[in-house]
Symmetry: C2
Subunit: 228 residues, 2 copies
Amino acid sequence: MMAGMPESPERTARGGRPPRLSRAEIIAAAKAVIAAEGVEQLTMRRLAREVRSTPMALYRHVDDKRGLLLLLLDDAAERMPRPELPEDPAERIVAAAAAIRDGLAGFPWIVEVLAADDLLSTAALWFPEAVVDAAVRSGLSEERAVHAYRAVWYYTAGEIIVRAAADRRRAADGARPHRDAVFAELDPDRTPRLAALGGRWPALTAEDTYREGLRALVAGLLADPGTP
Amino acid sequence: MMAGMPESPERTARGGRPPRLSRAEIIAAAKAVIAAEGVEQLTMRRLAREVRSTPMALYRHVDDKRGLLLLLLDDAAERMPRPELPEDPAERIVAAAAAIRDGLAGFPWIVEVLAADDLLSTAALWFPEAVVDAAVRSGLSEERAVHAYRAVWYYTAGEIIVRAAADRRRAADGARPHRDAVFAELDPDRTPRLAALGGRWPALTAEDTYREGLRALVAGLLADPGTP
DNA sequence: ACCTGAACACCGTTCAAGT
DNA sequence: ACCTGAACACCGTTCAAGT
Protein backbone atom coordinates (compact mmCIF):
# COMPACT_ATOMS: atom_id res chain seq x y z
CA MET A 1 0.00 0.00 0.00
CA MET A 2 1.06 3.59 -0.41
CA ALA A 3 3.80 4.24 -2.89
CA GLY A 4 6.08 5.17 0.01
CA MET A 5 9.04 7.52 0.23
CA PRO A 6 11.75 7.59 -2.42
CA GLU A 7 14.09 4.90 -1.35
CA SER A 8 17.42 6.64 -0.72
CA PRO A 9 19.43 3.42 -0.76
CA GLU A 10 22.66 4.93 0.61
CA ARG A 11 20.87 5.66 3.86
CA THR A 12 19.00 2.37 4.37
CA ALA A 13 21.87 0.12 3.34
CA ARG A 14 24.16 1.01 6.21
CA GLY A 15 26.77 -1.67 6.41
CA GLY A 16 25.15 -4.13 4.03
CA ARG A 17 25.38 -5.05 0.40
CA PRO A 18 24.24 -2.29 -1.97
CA PRO A 19 20.86 -2.96 -3.59
CA ARG A 20 20.92 -3.91 -7.24
CA LEU A 21 17.12 -3.86 -7.57
CA SER A 22 14.60 -1.23 -6.56
CA ARG A 23 10.88 -1.31 -5.98
CA ALA A 24 10.45 1.35 -8.66
CA GLU A 25 12.32 -0.76 -11.19
CA ILE A 26 10.23 -3.81 -10.34
CA ILE A 27 6.98 -1.88 -10.71
CA ALA A 28 8.08 -0.42 -14.02
CA ALA A 29 9.00 -3.86 -15.33
CA ALA A 30 5.70 -5.32 -14.12
CA LYS A 31 3.76 -2.61 -15.93
CA ALA A 32 5.74 -3.27 -19.10
CA VAL A 33 4.95 -7.00 -18.97
CA ILE A 34 1.26 -6.32 -18.38
CA ALA A 35 1.08 -3.73 -21.14
CA ALA A 36 2.77 -6.04 -23.60
CA GLU A 37 1.18 -9.38 -22.72
CA GLY A 38 -1.55 -9.04 -20.10
CA VAL A 39 -1.71 -9.75 -16.36
CA GLU A 40 -1.91 -13.47 -16.82
CA GLN A 41 1.69 -13.32 -18.11
CA LEU A 42 2.89 -11.47 -15.02
CA THR A 43 4.57 -14.08 -12.85
CA MET A 44 7.25 -13.65 -10.27
CA ARG A 45 9.60 -15.77 -12.37
CA ARG A 46 8.90 -13.85 -15.53
CA LEU A 47 9.32 -10.56 -13.71
CA ALA A 48 12.64 -11.73 -12.27
CA ARG A 49 13.85 -12.60 -15.77
CA GLU A 50 12.74 -9.16 -16.92
CA VAL A 51 14.90 -7.37 -14.36
CA ARG A 52 17.73 -9.88 -14.86
CA SER A 53 17.47 -11.30 -11.39
CA THR A 54 16.00 -14.29 -9.55
CA PRO A 55 12.42 -14.77 -8.32
CA MET A 56 13.48 -14.57 -4.71
CA ALA A 57 15.27 -11.26 -5.08
CA LEU A 58 11.87 -9.71 -5.74
CA TYR A 59 10.68 -10.69 -2.29
CA ARG A 60 13.17 -8.24 -0.77
CA HIS A 61 11.21 -5.38 -2.34
CA VAL A 62 7.66 -6.67 -2.41
CA ASP A 63 5.65 -8.63 0.14
CA ASP A 64 4.32 -11.20 -2.29
CA LYS A 65 2.47 -11.31 -5.56
CA ARG A 66 -0.66 -9.77 -4.14
CA GLY A 67 1.42 -6.99 -2.62
CA LEU A 68 2.94 -6.34 -6.01
CA LEU A 69 -0.53 -5.99 -7.53
CA LEU A 70 -1.52 -3.57 -4.78
CA LEU A 71 1.54 -1.47 -5.56
CA LEU A 72 0.51 -1.44 -9.21
CA LEU A 73 -2.94 -0.33 -8.16
CA ASP A 74 -1.58 2.59 -6.17
CA ASP A 75 0.67 3.51 -9.04
CA ALA A 76 -2.24 3.58 -11.47
CA ALA A 77 -4.40 5.58 -9.07
CA GLU A 78 -1.67 8.17 -8.64
CA ARG A 79 -1.21 8.60 -12.35
CA MET A 80 -4.92 8.94 -13.02
CA PRO A 81 -5.64 12.58 -13.90
CA ARG A 82 -8.06 14.23 -11.55
CA PRO A 83 -10.81 15.69 -13.68
CA GLU A 84 -12.49 19.07 -13.48
CA LEU A 85 -15.82 18.40 -11.81
CA PRO A 86 -18.95 20.37 -12.80
CA GLU A 87 -21.10 21.97 -10.11
CA ASP A 88 -24.40 20.28 -10.90
CA PRO A 89 -24.59 17.18 -8.64
CA ALA A 90 -25.73 14.73 -11.30
CA GLU A 91 -23.17 15.96 -13.80
CA ARG A 92 -20.55 15.90 -11.08
CA ILE A 93 -21.12 12.24 -10.33
CA VAL A 94 -21.18 11.33 -14.01
CA ALA A 95 -17.93 13.16 -14.67
CA ALA A 96 -16.19 11.61 -11.65
CA ALA A 97 -17.26 8.07 -12.46
CA ALA A 98 -16.46 8.46 -16.14
CA ALA A 99 -12.96 9.64 -15.24
CA ILE A 100 -12.44 6.58 -13.04
CA ARG A 101 -13.79 4.36 -15.76
CA ASP A 102 -11.48 5.83 -18.36
CA GLY A 103 -8.56 5.74 -15.95
CA LEU A 104 -9.09 2.07 -15.17
CA ALA A 105 -10.03 1.04 -18.70
CA GLY A 106 -6.38 0.45 -19.45
CA PHE A 107 -5.99 -1.71 -16.34
CA PRO A 108 -9.09 -3.88 -16.20
CA TRP A 109 -7.15 -6.53 -14.27
CA ILE A 110 -7.00 -4.08 -11.38
CA VAL A 111 -10.73 -4.24 -10.97
CA GLU A 112 -10.81 -7.96 -11.47
CA VAL A 113 -8.07 -8.65 -9.00
CA LEU A 114 -8.89 -6.11 -6.36
CA ALA A 115 -12.54 -5.12 -6.74
CA ALA A 116 -12.96 -6.20 -3.14
CA ASP A 117 -12.39 -2.91 -1.45
CA ASP A 118 -14.88 -0.23 -2.28
CA LEU A 119 -12.11 2.28 -1.85
CA LEU A 120 -9.68 1.67 -4.62
CA SER A 121 -6.66 3.41 -3.22
CA THR A 122 -5.89 6.46 -1.12
CA ALA A 123 -4.87 8.17 -4.33
CA ALA A 124 -8.40 7.75 -5.69
CA LEU A 125 -10.32 8.84 -2.61
CA TRP A 126 -11.48 11.94 -4.45
CA PHE A 127 -13.87 9.65 -6.31
CA PRO A 128 -16.09 8.44 -3.44
CA GLU A 129 -15.72 11.88 -1.89
CA ALA A 130 -17.04 13.59 -5.02
CA VAL A 131 -19.93 11.18 -5.40
CA VAL A 132 -21.01 11.26 -1.76
CA ASP A 133 -20.64 15.01 -1.66
CA ALA A 134 -22.71 15.58 -4.78
CA ALA A 135 -25.38 13.18 -3.57
CA VAL A 136 -25.64 14.90 -0.18
CA ARG A 137 -25.76 18.31 -1.82
CA SER A 138 -28.63 17.19 -3.98
CA GLY A 139 -30.60 16.25 -0.89
CA LEU A 140 -29.82 12.62 -0.03
CA SER A 141 -29.05 11.62 3.53
CA GLU A 142 -25.49 10.53 4.24
CA GLU A 143 -26.64 6.92 4.30
CA ARG A 144 -28.34 7.12 0.96
CA ALA A 145 -25.41 9.02 -0.47
CA VAL A 146 -23.08 6.16 0.43
CA HIS A 147 -25.51 3.69 -1.09
CA ALA A 148 -25.64 5.80 -4.22
CA TYR A 149 -21.85 5.72 -4.39
CA ARG A 150 -21.91 1.95 -4.17
CA ALA A 151 -24.46 1.70 -6.96
CA VAL A 152 -22.24 3.85 -9.17
CA TRP A 153 -19.25 1.68 -8.31
CA TYR A 154 -21.11 -1.57 -9.04
CA TYR A 155 -22.15 -0.26 -12.42
CA THR A 156 -18.68 1.03 -13.23
CA ALA A 157 -16.82 -2.06 -12.02
CA GLY A 158 -19.25 -4.28 -13.92
CA GLU A 159 -18.83 -2.35 -17.13
CA ILE A 160 -15.04 -2.47 -16.93
CA ILE A 161 -14.95 -6.18 -16.17
CA VAL A 162 -17.52 -7.24 -18.74
CA ARG A 163 -15.96 -5.16 -21.48
CA ALA A 164 -12.46 -6.36 -20.63
CA ALA A 165 -13.60 -9.97 -20.71
CA ALA A 166 -15.33 -9.41 -24.03
CA ASP A 167 -12.23 -7.77 -25.48
CA ARG A 168 -10.09 -10.63 -24.28
CA ARG A 169 -12.40 -13.15 -25.83
CA ARG A 170 -12.53 -11.23 -29.08
CA ALA A 171 -8.74 -11.20 -29.19
CA ALA A 172 -8.52 -14.87 -28.30
CA ASP A 173 -10.96 -16.50 -30.71
CA GLY A 174 -11.70 -14.10 -33.55
CA ALA A 175 -15.40 -14.84 -33.70
CA ARG A 176 -17.87 -14.99 -30.83
CA PRO A 177 -18.51 -18.73 -30.79
CA HIS A 178 -20.74 -19.08 -27.79
CA ARG A 179 -22.89 -16.12 -28.64
CA ASP A 180 -23.23 -17.08 -32.28
CA ALA A 181 -24.31 -20.55 -31.27
CA VAL A 182 -26.90 -19.09 -28.93
CA PHE A 183 -28.31 -16.79 -31.59
CA ALA A 184 -28.43 -19.54 -34.18
CA GLU A 185 -30.79 -21.49 -31.96
CA LEU A 186 -33.09 -18.68 -30.85
CA ASP A 187 -36.67 -19.88 -30.59
CA PRO A 188 -39.03 -17.04 -31.68
CA ASP A 189 -41.77 -18.48 -29.49
CA ARG A 190 -39.76 -18.44 -26.29
CA THR A 191 -37.60 -15.38 -26.92
CA PRO A 192 -39.43 -13.26 -29.51
CA ARG A 193 -37.67 -10.00 -28.74
CA LEU A 194 -34.20 -11.47 -29.06
CA ALA A 195 -35.19 -13.34 -32.20
CA ALA A 196 -36.56 -10.13 -33.70
CA LEU A 197 -33.25 -8.43 -33.00
CA GLY A 198 -31.60 -11.12 -35.03
CA GLY A 199 -28.11 -10.28 -36.17
CA ARG A 200 -28.14 -6.81 -34.66
CA TRP A 201 -27.21 -7.97 -31.16
CA PRO A 202 -23.44 -8.10 -31.72
CA ALA A 203 -23.35 -4.59 -33.19
CA LEU A 204 -25.63 -3.16 -30.51
CA THR A 205 -23.65 -4.67 -27.66
CA ALA A 206 -20.35 -3.53 -29.14
CA GLU A 207 -21.33 0.11 -28.72
CA ASP A 208 -19.96 2.04 -25.76
CA THR A 209 -23.02 2.95 -23.74
CA TYR A 210 -21.33 3.43 -20.39
CA ARG A 211 -22.17 7.10 -20.09
CA GLU A 212 -25.84 6.84 -21.06
CA GLY A 213 -26.42 4.06 -18.58
CA LEU A 214 -24.54 5.98 -15.91
CA ARG A 215 -26.66 9.07 -16.55
CA ALA A 216 -29.82 7.03 -16.15
CA LEU A 217 -28.53 5.47 -12.94
CA VAL A 218 -27.54 8.82 -11.43
CA ALA A 219 -30.84 10.42 -12.43
CA GLY A 220 -32.69 7.57 -10.74
CA LEU A 221 -30.51 7.77 -7.63
CA LEU A 222 -30.90 11.51 -7.17
CA ALA A 223 -34.61 11.60 -7.94
CA ASP A 224 -37.07 11.24 -5.10
CA PRO A 225 -34.68 11.82 -2.22
CA GLY A 226 -37.49 11.43 0.33
CA THR A 227 -38.17 7.71 0.08
CA PRO A 228 -35.87 5.39 2.02
CA MET B 1 -22.10 -25.66 -24.06
CA MET B 2 -25.52 -27.23 -23.78
CA ALA B 3 -25.87 -29.96 -21.21
CA GLY B 4 -26.35 -32.45 -24.06
CA MET B 5 -28.33 -35.62 -24.28
CA PRO B 6 -28.28 -38.22 -21.52
CA GLU B 7 -25.26 -40.27 -22.29
CA SER B 8 -26.57 -43.84 -22.80
CA PRO B 9 -23.15 -45.42 -22.49
CA GLU B 10 -24.20 -48.86 -23.76
CA ARG B 11 -24.96 -47.35 -27.14
CA THR B 12 -21.88 -45.18 -27.60
CA ALA B 13 -19.39 -47.70 -26.33
CA ARG B 14 -19.85 -50.22 -29.11
CA GLY B 15 -16.88 -52.49 -29.09
CA GLY B 16 -14.78 -50.49 -26.64
CA ARG B 17 -14.03 -50.46 -22.97
CA PRO B 18 -17.05 -49.54 -20.81
CA PRO B 19 -16.85 -46.03 -19.30
CA ARG B 20 -16.11 -45.80 -15.61
CA LEU B 21 -16.59 -42.03 -15.46
CA SER B 22 -19.44 -39.87 -16.72
CA ARG B 23 -19.73 -36.20 -17.47
CA ALA B 24 -22.55 -35.96 -14.94
CA GLU B 25 -20.37 -37.48 -12.23
CA ILE B 26 -17.55 -35.09 -13.05
CA ILE B 27 -19.84 -32.08 -12.90
CA ALA B 28 -21.32 -33.19 -9.61
CA ALA B 29 -17.86 -33.65 -8.13
CA ALA B 30 -16.75 -30.26 -9.42
CA LYS B 31 -19.73 -28.58 -7.81
CA ALA B 32 -19.00 -30.33 -4.54
CA VAL B 33 -15.41 -29.12 -4.54
CA ILE B 34 -16.46 -25.56 -5.33
CA ALA B 35 -19.18 -25.56 -2.70
CA ALA B 36 -16.81 -26.87 -0.06
CA GLU B 37 -13.65 -24.96 -0.88
CA GLY B 38 -14.17 -22.39 -3.64
CA VAL B 39 -13.30 -22.31 -7.34
CA GLU B 40 -9.65 -21.66 -6.75
CA GLN B 41 -9.46 -25.19 -5.29
CA LEU B 42 -11.01 -26.73 -8.38
CA THR B 43 -8.12 -28.18 -10.35
CA MET B 44 -8.12 -31.01 -12.81
CA ARG B 45 -5.86 -33.01 -10.53
CA ARG B 46 -7.99 -32.38 -7.47
CA LEU B 47 -11.13 -33.27 -9.41
CA ALA B 48 -9.53 -36.49 -10.65
CA ARG B 49 -8.69 -37.46 -7.08
CA GLU B 50 -12.28 -36.68 -6.11
CA VAL B 51 -13.70 -39.14 -8.66
CA ARG B 52 -10.93 -41.64 -7.90
CA SER B 53 -9.36 -41.38 -11.30
CA THR B 54 -6.47 -39.64 -13.08
CA PRO B 55 -6.32 -36.09 -14.45
CA MET B 56 -6.21 -37.33 -18.01
CA ALA B 57 -9.33 -39.47 -17.72
CA LEU B 58 -11.30 -36.23 -17.29
CA TYR B 59 -10.27 -35.09 -20.75
CA ARG B 60 -12.35 -37.91 -22.26
CA HIS B 61 -15.47 -36.23 -20.93
CA VAL B 62 -14.60 -32.55 -20.94
CA ASP B 63 -12.75 -30.43 -23.51
CA ASP B 64 -10.50 -28.71 -21.03
CA LYS B 65 -10.76 -26.71 -17.84
CA ARG B 66 -12.56 -23.83 -19.47
CA GLY B 67 -15.01 -26.28 -21.03
CA LEU B 68 -15.65 -27.73 -17.60
CA LEU B 69 -16.45 -24.28 -16.24
CA LEU B 70 -18.84 -23.67 -19.14
CA LEU B 71 -20.62 -26.92 -18.32
CA LEU B 72 -20.93 -25.76 -14.73
CA LEU B 73 -22.38 -22.49 -15.95
CA ASP B 74 -25.04 -24.26 -18.01
CA ASP B 75 -25.81 -26.49 -15.08
CA ALA B 76 -26.32 -23.52 -12.78
CA ALA B 77 -28.44 -21.69 -15.36
CA GLU B 78 -30.69 -24.70 -15.78
CA ARG B 79 -31.25 -25.06 -12.07
CA MET B 80 -32.02 -21.40 -11.55
CA PRO B 81 -35.73 -21.06 -10.83
CA ARG B 82 -37.56 -18.92 -13.36
CA PRO B 83 -39.41 -16.29 -11.36
CA GLU B 84 -42.94 -14.98 -11.76
CA LEU B 85 -42.58 -11.65 -13.52
CA PRO B 86 -44.94 -8.75 -12.75
CA GLU B 87 -46.67 -6.90 -15.58
CA ASP B 88 -45.37 -3.40 -14.88
CA PRO B 89 -42.22 -2.94 -17.01
CA ALA B 90 -40.04 -1.42 -14.33
CA GLU B 91 -41.08 -4.03 -11.77
CA ARG B 92 -40.61 -6.72 -14.38
CA ILE B 93 -37.00 -5.77 -15.02
CA VAL B 94 -36.27 -5.46 -11.32
CA ALA B 95 -37.75 -8.88 -10.60
CA ALA B 96 -35.88 -10.55 -13.47
CA ALA B 97 -32.53 -9.05 -12.58
CA ALA B 98 -32.99 -9.75 -8.88
CA ALA B 99 -33.72 -13.39 -9.69
CA ILE B 100 -30.53 -13.65 -11.74
CA ARG B 101 -28.60 -11.94 -9.00
CA ASP B 102 -29.91 -14.31 -6.36
CA GLY B 103 -29.39 -17.29 -8.63
CA LEU B 104 -25.77 -16.36 -9.30
CA ALA B 105 -25.01 -15.18 -5.78
CA GLY B 106 -24.06 -18.73 -4.86
CA PHE B 107 -21.74 -18.98 -7.87
CA PRO B 108 -19.92 -15.66 -8.05
CA TRP B 109 -17.00 -17.33 -9.80
CA ILE B 110 -19.27 -17.89 -12.78
CA VAL B 111 -19.51 -14.19 -13.33
CA GLU B 112 -15.84 -13.66 -12.69
CA VAL B 113 -14.75 -16.40 -15.02
CA LEU B 114 -17.25 -15.96 -17.79
CA ALA B 115 -18.66 -12.45 -17.59
CA ALA B 116 -17.49 -12.03 -21.17
CA ASP B 117 -20.61 -13.08 -22.95
CA ASP B 118 -23.58 -10.87 -22.35
CA LEU B 119 -25.76 -13.92 -22.75
CA LEU B 120 -24.99 -16.12 -19.84
CA SER B 121 -26.29 -19.39 -21.18
CA THR B 122 -29.16 -20.59 -23.35
CA ALA B 123 -30.87 -21.68 -20.17
CA ALA B 124 -30.93 -18.08 -18.96
CA LEU B 125 -32.08 -16.39 -22.14
CA TRP B 126 -35.35 -15.51 -20.49
CA PHE B 127 -33.44 -12.83 -18.63
CA PRO B 128 -32.37 -10.58 -21.54
CA GLU B 129 -35.67 -11.42 -23.21
CA ALA B 130 -37.65 -10.17 -20.21
CA VAL B 131 -35.61 -7.01 -19.85
CA VAL B 132 -35.65 -6.08 -23.54
CA ASP B 133 -39.34 -6.88 -23.77
CA ALA B 134 -40.27 -4.76 -20.76
CA ALA B 135 -38.13 -1.89 -22.01
CA VAL B 136 -39.73 -1.96 -25.46
CA ARG B 137 -43.19 -2.17 -23.94
CA SER B 138 -42.49 0.88 -21.86
CA GLY B 139 -41.64 2.83 -25.00
CA LEU B 140 -37.93 2.43 -25.70
CA SER B 141 -36.67 1.64 -29.17
CA GLU B 142 -35.19 -1.80 -29.69
CA GLU B 143 -31.73 -0.25 -29.68
CA ARG B 144 -32.24 1.57 -26.42
CA ALA B 145 -33.87 -1.52 -24.93
CA VAL B 146 -30.73 -3.54 -25.64
CA HIS B 147 -28.61 -0.79 -24.12
CA ALA B 148 -30.86 -0.79 -21.08
CA TYR B 149 -30.35 -4.53 -20.75
CA ARG B 150 -26.63 -4.07 -20.83
CA ALA B 151 -26.77 -1.39 -18.14
CA VAL B 152 -28.76 -3.75 -15.93
CA TRP B 153 -26.22 -6.51 -16.58
CA TYR B 154 -23.25 -4.26 -15.80
CA TYR B 155 -24.80 -3.25 -12.53
CA THR B 156 -25.72 -6.82 -11.61
CA ALA B 157 -22.40 -8.34 -12.63
CA GLY B 158 -20.56 -5.61 -10.76
CA GLU B 159 -22.56 -6.13 -7.60
CA ILE B 160 -22.02 -9.88 -7.64
CA ILE B 161 -18.30 -9.59 -8.25
CA VAL B 162 -17.63 -6.81 -5.77
CA ARG B 163 -19.64 -8.50 -3.04
CA ALA B 164 -18.01 -11.86 -3.70
CA ALA B 165 -14.55 -10.31 -3.53
CA ALA B 166 -15.44 -8.52 -0.31
CA ASP B 167 -16.79 -11.74 1.22
CA ARG B 168 -13.65 -13.59 0.22
CA ARG B 169 -11.48 -10.92 1.75
CA ARG B 170 -13.54 -10.89 4.91
CA ALA B 171 -13.14 -14.65 5.19
CA ALA B 172 -9.42 -14.51 4.46
CA ASP B 173 -8.19 -11.79 6.82
CA GLY B 174 -10.76 -11.24 9.54
CA ALA B 175 -10.49 -7.47 9.54
CA ARG B 176 -10.47 -5.09 6.57
CA PRO B 177 -6.83 -4.04 6.70
CA HIS B 178 -6.59 -1.89 3.59
CA ARG B 179 -9.83 -0.10 4.24
CA ASP B 180 -9.06 0.50 7.89
CA ALA B 181 -5.70 1.95 6.98
CA VAL B 182 -7.34 4.26 4.48
CA PHE B 183 -9.89 5.49 6.98
CA ALA B 184 -7.32 6.02 9.67
CA GLU B 185 -5.54 8.51 7.44
CA LEU B 186 -8.52 10.43 6.13
CA ASP B 187 -7.74 14.10 5.77
CA PRO B 188 -10.86 16.16 6.66
CA ASP B 189 -9.65 18.96 4.41
CA ARG B 190 -9.35 16.85 1.31
CA THR B 191 -12.17 14.37 1.90
CA PRO B 192 -14.58 16.04 4.34
CA ARG B 193 -17.60 13.89 3.50
CA LEU B 194 -15.73 10.63 4.02
CA ALA B 195 -14.14 11.96 7.18
CA ALA B 196 -17.56 13.00 8.50
CA LEU B 197 -18.83 9.51 7.88
CA GLY B 198 -16.04 8.22 10.06
CA GLY B 199 -16.56 4.73 11.33
CA ARG B 200 -19.94 4.30 9.69
CA TRP B 201 -18.54 3.38 6.28
CA PRO B 202 -18.00 -0.34 7.01
CA ALA B 203 -21.54 -0.76 8.33
CA LEU B 204 -23.10 1.23 5.52
CA THR B 205 -21.26 -0.66 2.81
CA ALA B 206 -22.08 -4.02 4.39
CA GLU B 207 -25.79 -3.47 3.78
CA ASP B 208 -27.40 -5.16 0.81
CA THR B 209 -28.57 -2.30 -1.37
CA TYR B 210 -28.70 -4.15 -4.66
CA ARG B 211 -32.43 -3.75 -5.13
CA GLU B 212 -32.61 -0.05 -4.31
CA GLY B 213 -29.83 0.75 -6.72
CA LEU B 214 -31.41 -1.42 -9.36
CA ARG B 215 -34.75 0.35 -8.92
CA ALA B 216 -33.06 3.70 -9.40
CA LEU B 217 -31.24 2.48 -12.49
CA VAL B 218 -34.38 1.05 -14.07
CA ALA B 219 -36.37 4.18 -13.29
CA GLY B 220 -33.69 6.26 -14.95
CA LEU B 221 -33.50 3.97 -17.95
CA LEU B 222 -37.24 3.91 -18.58
CA ALA B 223 -37.78 7.61 -17.97
CA ASP B 224 -37.57 10.01 -20.89
CA PRO B 225 -37.76 7.44 -23.70
CA GLY B 226 -37.60 10.16 -26.35
CA THR B 227 -33.98 11.27 -25.97
CA PRO B 228 -31.36 9.18 -27.77
C1' DA C 1 21.57 -5.99 3.59
C1' DC C 2 20.83 -7.99 -0.41
C1' DC C 3 20.93 -11.73 -3.64
C1' DT C 4 21.24 -16.78 -5.25
C1' DG C 5 20.21 -21.96 -5.80
C1' DA C 6 18.01 -25.71 -4.76
C1' DA C 7 13.86 -27.50 -3.30
C1' DC C 8 8.70 -28.11 -2.14
C1' DA C 9 4.30 -28.63 -3.42
C1' DC C 10 1.70 -27.59 -6.77
C1' DC C 11 -0.57 -26.37 -11.93
C1' DG C 12 -2.87 -27.70 -17.10
C1' DT C 13 -1.98 -30.47 -20.82
C1' DT C 14 0.36 -33.79 -24.32
C1' DC C 15 1.91 -38.16 -25.75
C1' DA C 16 2.46 -43.12 -25.87
C1' DA C 17 1.07 -47.06 -23.90
C1' DG C 18 -2.13 -50.34 -21.71
C1' DT C 19 -6.79 -52.90 -21.28
C1' DA D 1 -13.40 -46.73 -26.29
C1' DC D 2 -11.70 -45.59 -22.26
C1' DC D 3 -8.15 -45.11 -18.84
C1' DT D 4 -3.20 -44.76 -16.99
C1' DG D 5 1.81 -43.13 -16.23
C1' DA D 6 5.33 -40.56 -17.19
C1' DA D 7 6.72 -36.30 -18.79
C1' DC D 8 6.80 -31.15 -20.17
C1' DA D 9 6.74 -26.65 -19.10
C1' DC D 10 5.24 -24.07 -15.92
C1' DC D 11 3.54 -21.72 -10.94
C1' DG D 12 4.34 -19.05 -5.84
C1' DT D 13 7.01 -19.44 -1.95
C1' DT D 14 10.38 -21.24 1.79
C1' DC D 15 14.83 -22.22 3.48
C1' DA D 16 19.80 -22.15 3.84
C1' DA D 17 23.65 -20.41 1.99
C1' DG D 18 26.65 -16.96 -0.24
C1' DT D 19 28.70 -12.04 -0.79
